[in-house]
Point group: C2
């Protein structure tokens, strides 16, 4: 996958159910690595790795406290992903509307005024 750009990293991080579950858990509050790994029936190193992926995507922060590491969400990070997806949806439905109206005018067999622009 290579994932050089930020957006790819964010979506790549969200693509794994365990990582989404971790984010959901963290949304309820900070947690230690151990709190997470006990919940997921997975070895600690595996969790460490998922956390690294989330961290590299900028989705979580790691803070050292005593002998534990406290994970917390990075509030600003999902924004890019949300923006891309929602602007795409807009664009998307706009093109869908164009298709709809095109079909409508075709159906009426009334060639309104050529094919506007293009």
């Amino acid at each position: 996958m290579q994932a050089q750009d930020r957006l790819s990293k964010v979506y790549g991080a969200l693509a794994h159910p365990v990582r989404r579950a971790i984010l959901t858990q963290l949304a309820r509050g900070e947690a230690r690595v151990g709190d997470i790994s006990t919940r997921f029936d997975m070895t600690a190193p595996a969790i460490t790795n998922h956390l690294k992926v989330l961290e590299e995507a900028g989705l979580v922060n790691r803070r050292i406290a005593a002998q534990s590491r406290i994970l917390s969400l990075e509030p600003s990070a999902l924004r890019d992903g949300e923006e891309w997806i929602s602007s795409m949806r807009q664009f998307w439905s706009a093109s869908f509307d164009r298709l709809e109206s095109h079909l409508a005018s075709t159906r009426k067999a009334r060639p309104r005024k050529g094919r506007e622009g293009r």
Copy 2:
């Protein structure tokens, strides 16, 4: 990645820059496979594969026309992904606000009225 569930497939599909670019292109209108593969400096089979990923995530539709296959966006598909991400963001900022107000009350050393509800 395994990607058994729909959401994982959607995010997994969006995780690759070429696939996002394909979606962007399709948002401007339908396209044949060839229109896409010429644009991306990639062999046709590679594109076929990316399209399969997008299709399996429910993001695009394939329609056969003459000797070409016409790809188009599936308007409803991004919704799940958008919903998850935005509800997460909400949840997210709510917990961030809780933290903020907690910090604020701590700073003021004035325990306003306990911790409203919870």
